[in-house]
């Protein structure tokens, strides 16, 4: 098991910037207000019988001023570049060339949307008998938009963030669904804690309004269908509702933040990840328990923010794990934001930091009793991220 539990003498790492663009809105105030009002934005018709949490529209121009840049991206990249810009704004470093020229980036990404018209066009023609050896080649050569590839490449989310904001440090893109978001934070945290880096932009983005993704997850029967219910109430109606969101964080060494007078939302104390075999019932729960034990001691007023997907058996195993820690109030981001895949873990960290900085955990939104009210200000929040198929991550966010 690899981990970044902070060791004595290592640098404290602060969260000094948060950028959110979600199905509930853009920015911290809009998302916080929606959580307080228990507002959920789901589309049950557009992709019926499938349910998605669509992005609440934003004006991309404010973070991606050049239309030419916007045209070079597909939605998942635009959402991400937008949220990354908000995070830089929030940290007060937008346009700060000294810092942006050295900021390190770790991005968790999937891939870009396909051109569905091209795909169905080819398949329809083949169904009608087009079977010349070069048929697929010729159609792709003539029908694919030349720059679409760049809007599909995983590392071009980071590339576009760098281009739009003029970033010039390092740039790494991690793939691998949910746990990629946790590993991105783990590596960024350990690089700063060890002094390899001073400041990093970390996060991900996801467009859940994609039929090609619905097909991919439908292969495994993972999509939530017909009726929206909170994550914890899906046991006999399992599945996740894909969500659109971008969530980015600015992580910074305490010394670097203090030198420029930046205020922290919270500190990121530890991120741990693992890969349970999930061959037998209980494997994943045991791994979550191991990760829990690896986090630094918790003595404060704690809570848990879970990225549980609603898919089975992962969600039931996570619920078994949570039952053992029932004194911690739990919130499932999947209920409010949908499942945003690589973005879910950074989103959880963002909401943990926001809750700590605002002195309250957001209210429960659940019909099963898994989520309970929390009185008073949380000082420690554990973020849990267990993938729908593979990968487990956990982090501790604490008040500074």
């Amino acid at each position: 098991m690899t981990d970044t539990a902070s060791k004595p003498g290592q640098t404290e790492v602060w969260i000094t910037g948060i950028g959110l663009a979600t199905s509930l809105g853009e920015g911290l105030d809009a998302n916080w207000a929606a959580l307080q009002e228990k507002r959920i934005n789901v589309d049950e018709k557009g992709f019926a019988p499938f349910i998605v949490h669509p992005l609440l529209p934003v004006t991309f121009d404010s973070q991606i001023p050049k239309k030419g840049d916007q045209r070079q991206m597909e939605a998942w990249q635009r959402i991400g570049v937008y949220a990354a810009g908000l995070a830089l704004d929030s940290a007060g470093i937008k346009g700060n060339k000294d810092i942006l020229s050295k900021i390190d980036m770790v991005v968790a990404a999937g891939g870009g949307e396909r051109d569905l018209n091209v795909d169905t066009g080819v398949l329809n023609a083949e169904a009608k008998g087009a079977n010349a050896p070069g048929f697929l080649n010729e159609r792709l050569m003539s029908d694919l938009r030349p720059t679409l590839f760049l809007a599909q490449l995983s590392n071009l989310l980071a590339g576009n963030i760098a281009i739009v904001n003029g970033l010039g440090g390092t740039s790494r893109t991690f793939m691998g669904e949910e746990v990629a978001g946790a590993d991105a934070l783990r590596i960024a945290l350990s690089r700063i804690a060890s002094g390899e880096s001073d400041i990093a932009l970390v996060g991900g983005s996801h467009n859940g309004e994609r039929k090609d993704l619905l097909v991919l997850y439908e292969f495994g029967d993972f999509n939530l269908k017909n009726k929206f219910v909170p994550v914890w109430a899906r046991k006999d109606h399992a599945g996740f509702a894909l969500g659109s969101a971008g969530a980015f964080l600015v992580l910074e060494s305490r010394a670097h933040a203090e030198a420029r007078g930046a205020k922290p939302y919270a500190k990121l104390s530890s991120v741990v990840t693992d890969l349970a075999r999930r061959k037998q019932g209980g494997d994943m729960e045991a791994t979550l328990e191991k990760l829990w034990d690896k986090l630094p001691k918790r003595a404060g007023k704690g809570a848990i923010i879970s990225g549980a997907t609603g898919a089975e058996p992962a969600t039931s195993e996570e619920r078994d794990f949570l039952k053992k820690h029932a004194d911690f109030p739990v919130r499932a981001t999947g209920t409010m934001f949908g499942h945003t895949m690589e973005t879910q873990f950074p989103l959880g960290i963002a909401l943990a930091a926001l809750s700590i900085s605002r002195g309250a955990l957001f209210p429960p939104n659940d019909s099963t009793g898994t989520e309970i009210e929390m009185q008073g200000a949380p000082t420690q929040i554990v973020v849990v991220g267990a993938g729908h198929w593979r990968g487990e991550g956990m982090a501790l966010v604490e008040a500074v």
């Binding site: 697929l136 760049l150 071009l156 590339g159 010039g168």
Partner: protein, 425 residues
């Protein structure tokens, strides 16, 4: 006895196992003998029809079978084979129990045409929409497709097969991915998180759509006949890169851990560096500053000066822009030495293995250090008069090589360099 720590006080990171596969063949011995003999692995594509394509050749790995075939499946199988080779050489850990994390460079994953066509046929109609595909995707018939086309599937398979520890990281930094996987391993060891790391890079994506994508960006050579002469790094008549498949695996260990268990040390990862270019999605900043900065960071990371580098394993893709940019930036860093240090591009023979290239070329660099012989840049018949590198043209050259710089530059402003040396400095 050398110090186990480098000039900056960090653990020295050494290589104790290597495995490689390219269009030239499987394994270090076969690859090395063909590489120094100047053989090309580029051939006319036979895996699928090439009618209607502008580029009809590639460096495919056709001697590995995967059933059912997919590019991701081929990437996975190649990664497995090179990892086995590397672990056998390193003799580390126990079977299925590698004592450290996995860092995997892998091409982005997506549902591929054979599977999409299977789905299309299953609709059973002549006219249908995407919704019809969606309607028949569930029910468990295609659950294997879900697993196959998860981005994390190749890493999960390798982690389970070889028993690597913790969460395996799948990464993409485009054509620099292989170098990034090594860099992540080096950093983990330097931070003291682990004594060993498994760094693997693999790419098996020569398929119709991938070729079309690069073709539409005018990145590929179209000198199809003869295919062996298509990849012409540093030549005046170069016209693009040649797509290729391959994989490389390196077992990295701290010098201390490697010597403690009596492992044979194959070389040292003395320095790594990377620097993002925010100029353009596919083109380098015209002033070359990000690449210059990348090379300088790598030298600083190794605690070395340009005069200590005696060979450059170039990115050398054979695109008109890359090779020119690489000479100009190397000149800015190395001064007159840029015209003296022997430079070669392995891509002249194995093509551009994309996500795997950084690791494949790091392994060739380590083999160069071992054999004190620099593989040639083939097809170097008409040198570009504006690229004044001391190119090891057409024939391998014996040379005293103590430190190699290996460069990788990719789409999305990704630049990464490595410095590999024989023994700890």
């Amino acid at each position: 006895m050398t110090a186990p720590r480098d000039k900056l006080g960090r653990p020295v990171v050494v290589v104790t196992g290597m495995g490689i596969m390219t269009s030239l063949g499987a394994g270090k011995a076969d690859n090395w003998s063909k590489l120094v003999a100047g053989e090309s692995g580029i051939r006319t594509i036979t895996r699928f029809p090439v009618d209607g394509l502008k580029t009809t050749m590639a460096g495919t790995v056709d001697f590995v079978s995967v059933d059912p075939f997919s590019s991701t499946g081929l990437s996975e199988r190649m990664a497995e084979l090179v990892t086995q080779e590397a672990l056998e050489q390193a003799g580390i850990g126990a079977k299925a129990d590698f004592p450290g994390p996995l860092f995997l460079a892998v091409a982005p994953v997506e549902v591929e045409w054979p599977q999409r066509r299977e789905l299309g046929r299953a609709v059973g109609a002549e006219d249908f929409t995407y919704d019809d595909l969606l309607r028949i995707s569930g029910g468990g018939k295609y659950s294997a497709f879900h697993h196959r086309f998860m981005f994390g599937s190749v890493a999960a398979h390798l982690a389970e097969t070889f028993g690597t520890k913790g969460s395996p990281i799948s990464l993409s930094t485009a054509c620099a991915s292989g170098a990034t996987s090594i860099q992540l391993g080096v950093e983990a060891i330097r931070r003291g998180e682990t004594d060993a790391a498994l760094c693997v890079a693999t790419d098996g994506t020569v398929n119709p759509e991938a070729l079309v994508r690069f073709s539409l960006l005018s990145a590929l050579s179209t000198q199809n006949d003869p295919p062996q002469a298509a990849s012409r790094p540093f030549s005046k008549n170069r016209d693009g890169f040649v797509m290729a498949e391959g994989a490389g695996a390196l077992v990295l260990e701290s010098y201390e851990a490697a010597t403690a268990r009596g492992a044979k040390i194959l070389g040292v990862i003395a320095g790594c560096g990377e620097l993002t270019d925010s100029f353009h999605r596919t083109r380098s900043s015209p002033d070359g500053k990000p690449i210059i900065g990348c090379m300088n960071k790598t030298l600083a990371d190794a605690g070395m000066t340009p005069d200590q580098i005696d060979h450059i394993n170039a990115h050398g893709t054979a695109t008109p822009e890359n090779d020119k940019m690489e000479f100009n930036t190397t000149s800015a860093v190395f001064g007159d030495l840029a015209q003296k240090i022997p430079v070669t591009s392995n891509k002249s023979m194995v093509g551009h293995t994309i996500s795997a290239a950084g690791a494949v070329e790091a392994i060739f660099s380590l083999l160069t250090l071992e054999h004190q012989r620099i593989p040639p840049t083939i097809n170097y018949e008409t040198p570009d008069p504006t690229i004044l590198f001391n190119v090891v043209g057409n024939k391998a050259r014996d040379a005293r090589v103590t430190a190699v710089m290996s460069n990788s530059f990719g789409f999305g402003g990704q630049n990464a360099s490595l410095i590999l040396t024989r023994e700890p400095a």
